[in-house]
């Protein structure tokens, strides 16, 4: 079997200026920090970034925002990164907010080939953002389009060379969803084993969703507390 393990530098060749980049992680935990550092180092810009939050100022996914590499952000929470709020108010960064569970479900839908999800109106999506209303089973719903990305980057605890992934504790968060929603998915992993070494019962993301795996250069959890 061909191994999907490549270098971080090779993997980040997939990330070009102006693409839609989806990133796993929640409040810093489970963020693919080595891939983000390489994206930053390569000078990639004009990104549309899709992720749970804006990270922290100049930390984790927040680095891409603090260094003004993101022009559009689809997310749910930016309170922990003052740079994001400042750029938003200055008009430098366009931010589209979605309620957290709706964002997660839009990403999941994108990953599993559904075109959209139906959500109840008045659950935190502003009228200007409500694309289309539909009546189903006697109730009104908003059609929320699924989300996909040109490249999705995730963090996992373990992988095998086929790209099967196992996460760790709360570092799972939106990573399994992001792993499915990218046209190309790159997983940054702590421990990489030959195919066959992971218990199939324990695999959370099947390797079919993962195009490349890279070995993390570490640094997880440095700001968690």
């Amino acid at each position: 079997m061909v191994s999907k393990l490549i270098s971080i530098e090779e993997a980040v060749d997939q990330v070009r200026d102006g693409i839609r980049l989806m990133v796993g992680g929640f409040g810093g935990i489970g963020t693919p920090v080595s891939l983000i550092d390489m994206i930053l180092q390569k000078g990639i810009q004009d990104l549309t970034l899709i992720g749970n939050d804006a990270g922290f100022a100049d930390q984790g996914v927040g680095k891409l925002i603090s260094h003004e590499r993101v022009k559009r952000l689809l997310t749910t929470h930016i309170g922990s990164n003052p740079d994001a709020g400042r750029q938003m108010m200055e008009g430098k960064l366009e931010v589209l907010f979605y309620p957290q569970g709706i964002l997660a479900e839009k990403i999941r839908a994108g990953g599993v080939g559904l075109p959209a999800i139906l959500v109840e109106p008045d659950v935190g999506i502003g009228p200007s953002q409500q694309e289309q209303l539909v009546r189903y089973a006697g109730k009104n719903y908003v059609i929320e389009p699924a989300l996909t990305a040109d490249v999705g980057i995730v963090y996992a605890k373990q992988a095998d060379t086929y790209g099967n992934l196992i996460y760790e504790k709360a570092a799972r968060n939106i990573n399994p969803l992001v792993a499915m929603a990218g046209k190309i998915t790159i997983a940054e992993v702590e421990e990489i084993l030959p195919a066959g070494e992971l218990n199939p019962e324990h695999i959370v993301t099947p390797g079919i969703f993962v195009n490349y795996i890279v070995r993390t250069s570490g640094g997880m959890g440095e700001w968690g507390f």
């Binding site: 929640f26 935990i29 309170g79 569970g101 709706i102 990403i107 709360a170 799972r172 507390f225």
Partner: protein
């Protein structure tokens, strides 16, 4: 108004009394995170965290934090027996399908009808919509834990929220360092006044009419 740690603890301790053994409870960011510390573990309350944990335990002792184990606010936590991990879509699936008994949320403002504002102060600070709207809509009971006044010493409980709303008519109860207030069809009902505040100090610092409960308690 910034609260002292003793006041935050007092709010969290009072909030814990709204929980019954065996309940599933979501704790939001801020004071709500502290509620778990005031419940006996043998009550088997399952604390739900939207980053993908059911069965959040107390805060770890210093030095025993796990870099991959935090609540939705990013604070290190431990696990209760029976805990599980899952992704965020499943976490909200539990919420949306009505399996969460109580959600404790922070707030910037609450209206007399139970409208909730907790995501943006236009021109000043953007927090983001977060999980508040869905927890507020789908949890069986929604309790706001917050300071009674803002940084300008102005009431946060108002006839109408001035800040953009996160969710309408969703809050069932408000617990602050000054009072416990229930949101009823008739309006806001004051049930408890916290030490050392007087009834007058609660009424004058609340920006909406208060119905004084006939069972009003002055809490020591």
């Amino acid at each position: 108004m910034g609260l002292l740690i003793d006041q935050r603890n007092m709010i969290a301790r009072r909030a814990a009394r709204e929980i019954l053994p065996g309940m599933t409870v979501n704790l939001g960011i801020g004071i709500p995170e502290m509620v778990a510390d005031f419940l006996p573990s043998e009550w088997n309350v399952m604390f739900h965290s939207v980053n993908g944990i059911l069965g959040v335990g107390p805060f770890p002792v210093q030095g025993e934090e796990n870099a991959h184990l935090s609540n939705a606010g990013g604070t290190p936590v431990t696990l209760h027996s029976g805990a599980s991990f899952f992704d965020s879509s499943v976490a909200y699936g539990m919420v949306r399908s009505g399996r969460v008994d109580v959600a404790f949320l922070g707030a910037l403002q609450v209206s007399q009808r139970g409208d909730l504002a907790n995501w943006i102060v236009p021109g000043k600070r953007v927090y983001g919509i977060g999980g508040g709207p869905e927890l507020a809509r789908y949890a069986k009971k929604v309790i706001v834990l917050m300071s009674h006044l803002n940084e300008m010493n102005e009431p946060k409980i108002l006839r109408e929220c001035e800040l953009p709303l996160s969710a309408k008519s969703c809050v069932d109860m408000i617990i602050t360092e000054r009072a416990v207030i229930e949101v009823t069809k008739q309006g806001l009902c004051l049930t408890e006044v916290m030490y050392p505040y007087s009834l007058e100090e609660v009424v004058t610092k609340t920006g909406a009419p208060l119905i004084i409960s006939e069972y009003l308690q002055m809490v020591d």
